[in-house]
Amino acid sequence: MRVLGFACLWIVLTEGDVSSAFLAVGAVASAAAADALLNRGRGVGPLSALRVIRVLGRVPLDSVKAGIDVAIRALRPSLPIRPGLVRVPIDVADPAVRVATAYLTTVLPGTVCVAVEPGGLRLHLIDRRRDVGAQVAQVAQDLERALRGGRHG
């Protein structure tokens, strides 16, 4: 799956240029080897890759919602923001899943992850009255299910 993924990325980046095929073999093999070395024991099967793509499929819509939310707040004369820091606990043991959750949380409307902690995430909210705990926990659960095959059922 790693080799296939990097090969697809190479084809997209070179716009399908066949003259660079000899470079592609080395680049794809090196990238796949480095990835395998860094993520030892975390194999991603075809089904798991599909689940991850489904979770990442929300990113464009979340990005649109988040961009509109910030634009409205920035442009309104009253500047309707109440910024604040919160700790959001997430029940995820794998640090890689926590970091991935932090990245996806930064795309959600109104939240920016500022620290990944052992028991959860430290978030900066543009409006601290919003309760984002359930939303972040859901993202973490979906990611863990996608990557690890459903510890949460």
């Binding site: 464009p60 990005s63 990245y103 500022v114 900066h124």
Partner: protein, 93 residues
């Protein structure tokens, strides 16, 4: 027709870049400004990329622009995390 759609996307992208810059100037602290940079500007980039993809009319170029946008999203989330962590550690040593 494709040119009008492309122009609409690119103008929409410029609007969100403008809104992000206004947020950068108006928001009161560093962590709040990260919201302007990681959300409004990313949406602006996504819309500009979508406009260029429509204008190009080529699937491979559209996919390449998608990769560029995803890389920019990942980079902005990484930078926001690093700046945010530095600010929190400075304020709460």
């Amino acid at each position: 027709m494709a040119d009008f759609i492309a122009a609409a996307f690119i103008l929409g992208g410029c609007f969100f870049f403008l809104a992000g810059t206004v947020g950068l100037l108006r928001f009161p602290d560093t962590l709040s400004r990260l919201h302007a940079l990681t959300k409004a500007d990313n949406l602006g980039l996504g819309l500009v990329a979508a406009g260029v993809a429509v204008h190009g009319g080529d699937l491979v170029i559209a996919l390449k622009l998608l990769v560029v946008w995803v890389a920019a999203l990942a980079a902005s989330a990484t930078v926001a995390l690093l700046i945010g962590r530095a600010m929190v550690e400075r304020d709460e040593p």
